[in-house]
Structures are given as C-alpha cells and as structure tokens.
C-alpha cells in the first residue's frame, strides 16, 4: 500500500503539467502565462525589409514545395494582395503607406506561433500543440478536417487542402521545427539578406526591439506587434508606419482566444449539476399542483355531498315532522270521530 517515492514524483510531475497553459486547468486561474522560458521566436523589422522575396524562396526550398508559377525573383507579384497557402507558408506583401519619406513598406506573413494559440484551444482532437521551442505544431494524424482552427485564427493563417479528396490536411508554417531540432535556423531567417528577420529567444528579441525603438524613436512606431496581441505571439514585428497600414489587425486585444470560450465552457458543469434539480423541482411542482387540484376536487365533491346529505336529512325531517303532524291530526280526528261515533250509538241505543 505504500506509495513509492518514484511514483509520488510522477504524480507531482503530472500536477505540474496541469499548470501548463493550454490545458484547461489554467483557464480560470489568475496565473499569467508569458510563454515558455526558452521559447524561440522571430523578430521581423519592416523598416529593414526590401521585399526581395528571398524568404519565400527559402521557405519553398526547405519544405520541398513545387516551384511557383511566377519565379521568386519576379517582384511584380508584390502588387497583389497575397496570403499564405498550401504550398506557400509565407508571403511578402507591399503596402502603400501614408508616411511621407517612404511611400511603400513590406510585411511578411506567416504563422505567428501564438503563445496560447487559438487553433490549439479550439481543436477538438488536440492536433495543435505549442512546443517549448516556440513552434505551434500540427499533427495531421489525428486531424478530422473540421477547419475550426481556420475559423478561430485571428491572423487567417492556416490553410486547407480543399482539393485533396481523401486525406486533406491543414497546412501552415512550422517555424521549421525539424530544422530547429537539428540546430539550424528557419529557412526564411537563414536566407534573409538584410537582417530584417532575427531568430532567437523571444525574451531577448523583445529587448532588441525595445532598444531599436529607443535608439531610433523617429524611425519606429512605439509598439512591438505580437508582444501582447491575442496573449502574445512568438513572432514580433517592428514597423515605421502604423501597423494598420501593413494590413495588420489592431482590434485583437491582449486576451488569448482560450479566454473567450472558457467562460461558456465553465458553465457546462453548472448546467449538469443544477438543471436536474431545477427540472425535477418543476416536475414536482406540476405534479403537486395536479394532486392539489385533484384533492380540492375531491374535497369539493365531499363537501357538496355532505351538504346534500344534510339537506336531504333536513327535508326528510321536515317531511317527517309534517307527516307526523298530519298523522297526529288524522289520529286525533279519527279518535275524536271514533269517540263521537262511540258516543252517538250509545245515545241512539239509549234512545231506542
């Protein structure tokens, strides 16, 4: 019966695991998750991006995707408004800006690898997982293809293989997790010629970003996009123009997606616990009302029957009384008559 030390430690480990966000245990607590301590990320500095599409090329190569219709050195595609796809985990778009000095700016789009990802929170088979390296992993072997992750992603990142008839997958940037495990940089970061992309520990990247803003306040908007958006993302962005002008949402807030649904989900046990009480209570009341109605009916019938009986008795009595009186009178008259008769013959006899 004794608990071995080893087993106890296992349990303790399990208890700690329950505290890792993304698991439901944390949803209602006050603990704030700031990401895995060693978690990596990428800092994208829009002011350094020249729109060369090398990162798209690097991504294409490390993922063994087919060559695109327009080659990567064709920069005319920058005029289109492109998004991520099944065979393009990252794209760069060019945006016209209101800034006087520079009329265009670039933004690279890919999975932001949220600290508490919406896709992972809403997936009903846990196909998404935030790893300690910083990457949000996708596991196609359990995916049912419901595409709720795509609905929930605030950045519209995941894509779906709609033309795959039998085993369609959700596809998105992996942060080159396999390469990270080998000690290599993500494909896009490695190929970037201008240091617009830096890979590193997220905490250190935040410091670098802050320093840049502080040292060049005239060049940067005083905001690190991704530091807090939707609970924070592993990808961080610096820009010289308002982020809205780069097509980035500024209405996301700082709460991770999980928190929007945790309230509704926390109502589940309450409903399960209280509804039977409420329903049985109502059932009981309706039954009782039925019963009371029946009882009242019975009572009313009883009372009216009693009343009727009483009345009948009274009637009988009065009738009897009447009958009595009538009879008495009859008897009296009869007696009188008899007496009278008895007297009269005597008289007659006496006479005769």
């Amino acid at each position: 019966m004794s608990i071995s030390r080893r087993r106890f430690l296992k349990w303790a480990g399990a208890a700690n695991l329950a505290l890792i966000p993304g698991k439901s245990a944390i949803a209602a607590s006050n603990r704030h998750f700031e990401g895995y301590p060693q978690g990596g990320g990428v800092l994208f500095d829009s002011t350094l991006c020249i729109g060369c599409r090398k990162c798209e090329k690097g991504c294409n190569e490390v993922n063994d995707f087919p060559a695109p219709v327009k080659p990567f050195d064709d920069l005319s595609v920058l005029d289109e408004r492109r998004r991520t796809g099944n065979t393009a985990f990252t794209v760069v778009n060019r945006y016209k800006t209101s800034d006087g000095s520079d009329t265009t700016a670039y933004r690279k789009i890919q999975c932001n690898h949220c600290l508490e990802p919406a896709c992972a929170a809403v997936c009903f088979v846990k196909a998404f997982n935030k790893t300690p390296t910083g990457a949000v992993e996708y596991d196609a072997s359990v995916c049912v293809g419901c595409r709720y992750c795509m609905m929930a992603c605030p950045f519209d990142v995941p894509t779906f293989e709609y033309n795959e008839a039998f085993n369609p997958r959700v596809q998105k940037c992996t942060l080159c997790q396999p390469r990270l495990e080998e000690g290599l940089l993500p494909g896009c970061v490695e190929i970037c010629p201008t240091d617009a992309l830096i890979f590193g520990e997220r905490k250190k990247l935040l410091k670098i970003a802050r320093n840049r803003i502080e040292n060049h306040p005239d060049q940067y908007i005083d905001h690190i996009y991704g530091e807090h958006e939707m609970g924070g993302t592993s990808w961080l962005y610096l820009s010289g123009v308002p982020f809205k002008e780069l097509g980035m949402k500024e209405d996301l807030g700082i709460k991770p997606a999980l928190e929007f649904t945790s309230g509704a989900l926390s109502a589940v046990p309450i409903v399960i616990g209280l509804w039977p009480v409420l329903l049985l209570g109502m059932y009981g009341v309706s039954k009782r009302l039925d019963k009371e109605a029946l009882e009242e009916q019975d009572e009313a019938i009883k009372v009216s029957l009693e009343n009727a009986a009483e009345e009948a008795a009274k009637k009988l009595e009065t009738a009897l009384n009447k009958a009595d009186k009538a009879k008495k009178r009859e008897i009296e008259t009869a007696v009188k008559k008899a007496l009278a008769e008895a007297e009269s013959p005597q008289e007659g006899n006496e006479e005769s």
Partner: protein, 390 residues
C-alpha cells in the same frame, strides 16, 4: 395504413412538388459523388479565408429548429401541460430529423469524415467548444432515437420493448433538456473565439445564451409550422386525438413564443449595451441588424400575442413562418455574412451552385423522411393497439 400510403403515393406521384423533389434528390446524389471522390474544393466555394460556408448555416438552423423536440417534451412532461400530449411525437420527430440531417451534413463538411469518432476515442480536445458540442449532439441523437422508439416499436408490433421504452420517457426528457441546453448554447460559443472576425452587432459574450433562447422559441415555432404543413398536405396521416388538441397547442405555444421573444429582444439590446456597440447602428450593418431586431423578433412577438388573444390560428401560423425566417436571417449573418466582415470584398465568400444544391438536398431528404415516417408510424395518429397511450 400502409395500403393507404401506397395509394396516396400512387395518386400524387407526378405532382409539381414531387417532380422538383426528385430533381433535387438526383442532383444532390450527383453532387455527393463528386464531393466524396474529388474533395471539398470540387463542390464548394470555401477558401482559406472562409473555411465554413452555407452548410454550417444550414446546420445551425437545423439544430435550432430541431429544438422542437426538447421544448415540447419539457412542456408536456416537466411542466405538466398534458393537453399538448399529442404534439410530443411529431415534435420529437422534427428533432430527430433535424439532428440526423446535422450529422449527415457534417459528414459532407468534414475533410476526413471517417475520423468522426476521433474526438471521442483517439484524442480528446477538451478545451474545444466543438468537443463539447460533438459529445452532446452524439448523446442527444441517442436520446432522440430512444424517445421516438415507441412509435417505431408500435409500428413493428414489439409490445414488450415498446412498454420498456415508454417507461424511460421521463428520464430521457431530462437528459434531452440538459444536453440541449449545453450544445444549443455552445453552438453560439463556437463564434466566441474569433471576436475580431464577427461583426460587433452580432458578436456578443452572450452568444451562447442567445443561441439557447433562439432554440426555445425556434423549436416551438417549428412545431406550429410543421403541424400546419402536415394538416394541409398530409391529412391522411393525422388522427383523432391530434385533431382535438391541435388548437390548444397552437394557442399555447403562440403565447409562450411571444413571451420568450420579448425577453430575447431585450437581452439582444443588453448585448449591444454591454459591448457599447451603439455607434455601429448608424451604418449599413446597423440597418441589417435593425431589420432582424424589429421584423424578426419584435414583430412576431406582437403578432403572436395578438393571435393568441384573438384565437386567430391563421395569424399565428404565418407569424411562426416569420419567426423561422428571422432565425434563418440571424444564423446567416453569424455563420457567413457578418463573419469576416472586414475582409476585402474579393476575399469574401459566395456559395457555389453545388453547395446550394446539396443544402436543398438535405432539406428535401428531411421532408421526404418526415412524410414517409408519419404515414407509416403512429406519429400524428394513435396506433389501434395502443389507444390514448402516447
């Protein structure tokens, strides 16, 4: 009854309704083959921006109106309104068909439908609202089939099993109400995780409650609507007890819907108020929102009240249609039109022809199934071996 049905079918085989249904069914089967051999991309206009389309709209509406089952059972068995008893079986059948179509439609919508059991048996994503919906709908489907089983068993003549099934009525009703409360509201909670994507006039922290309330009045309105159609088009399937109680059901339900609608109208306004989205009312979205609020919610509330007061059955029936249209309108905005509202027009979703056909296919399958089942099984009439027992 079977002979009569056959006679009826022979008689009405070439009516316009039947011809249109036939065309839809054939086109639907064709689209089904393409869907399962060439993938979702071949039949839908879904995209990476718009992963859910009108099939989800259909599913939301089907589940909401299928609330007919649990609301009617609650009225009769829990609240003790025994005068509505003849409405129970048709209402449960509406629920059963609604949920069955939901499940069938899900098979079309999922990328890998054969993995439908995965969330239950392989990898449980307990933080997902969809996980809870899946679990509740699966259980509730079982409950609905058990609730309806006495009708089937009477038809088949299995008296003993039927009597056992009847004894479980109260327990099943309780389960049904709990499960419905949970998943009806969770369908609204599905949209909570994307506050930036759904228009603020339709997004609210109260969405789960909105969806739950909608299923209450939507279910009751559906009962009135389906009963009307059945009386008109399936008079041969309707029996004596139903005829006697139907006026009471329509009047009683009208009163109930009217009151629920008034409450719903106010909590919708409270939603706007707590989120302070008033300024959105002064936009084209605001007009579309006000149409829903005034024509889809407030107007039916008033008309139902008038209808119930003046015992105007015709008015009540048309108001039920208006109420259902209001719900369809609401779900349309939440599932498609007001979703991704900030997206540039080129990236917005517009359904493909085959998507529309498959949606009509689902509805037609439901109508045909309802017709066949009510003609065979004691739904609107009482089985001669079990008089006044259901």
């Amino acid at each position: 009854m079977v002979d009569e049905t056959k006679a009826l079918r022979k008689k009405s085989l070439l009516t316009p309704v039947n011809i249109i249904s036939g065309i839809i069914l054939v086109a639907g089967l064709y689209a089904t083959i393409i869907r399962f051999t060439q993938g979702l991309g071949a039949v839908t206009a879904l995209s990476d921006y718009n992963p859910w389309g009108i099939w989800i709209w259909f599913k939301l509406v089907a589940i909401t109106l299928a609330g007919a089952g649990y609301t009617t059972c609650a009225a009769v068995y829990v609240f003790g309104m025994k005068r509505y008893h003849s409405a129970v079986r048709p209402a449960v059948l509406i629920g059963l068909l609604g949920y069955t179509l939901f499940a069938v439609s899900l098979v079309y919508d999922l990328g890998r439908p054969y993995r439908l059991p995965y969330p239950f048996f392989v990898s449980q994503g307990t933080t997902s609202v969809l996980f809870e919906i899946g679990l509740c709908v699966a259980f509730y489907l079982i409950v609905l089939y058990l609730e309806f089983s006495p009708a089937g068993l009477e038809w088949l003549g299995f008296r003993k099993i039927r009597n056992i099934a009847v004894k479980a009525t109260m327990a099943l009703t309780m389960f049904g109400i709990i499960l419905s409360t949970l998943h009806q509201s969770s369908l609204g909670a599905l949209y909570l995780s994307a506050p930036s994507k759904l228009h603020p006039l339709w997004y609210s922290g109260y969405l789960p409650i909105y969806f739950f309330i909608t299923s209450i009045y939507g279910g009751l309105a559906m009962v009135i609507f389906v009963f009307w159609l059945s009386e008109r088009y399936l008079p041969d399937n309707i029996g004596h007890a139903y005829q006697e109680e139907k006026t009471g059901v329509v009047l009683g339900f009208a009163k109930a819907i009217s009151m629920v609608l008034v409450g719903y109208f106010f909590i919708r306004i409270f939603g706007i108020s707590t989120a302070n989205s008033w300024h959105h009312l002064f936009s084209s979205w605001g007009v579309l929102f006000l149409i829903e609020m005034l024509v889809g919610i407030l107007l039916p509330a008033i008309l139902f009240a008038i209808g119930a007061r003046e015992k105007n059955i015709t008015l009540i029936r048309w108001t039920a249609v208006l109420t259902i249209l209001g719900i369809i309108y609401n779900k349309f905005f939440i599932s498609t039109y007001a979703f991704n509202w900030q997206l540039s027009p080129v990236d917005r979703y517009f359904p493909s022809g085959l998507e529309v056909i498959l949606t009509l296919f689902m509805i037609t399958v439901g109508v045909v199934a309802f017709r066949v089942i009510t003609s065979l099984m004691p739904v609107f009439f009482e089985h001669k071996d079990y008089p006044s027992s259901h």
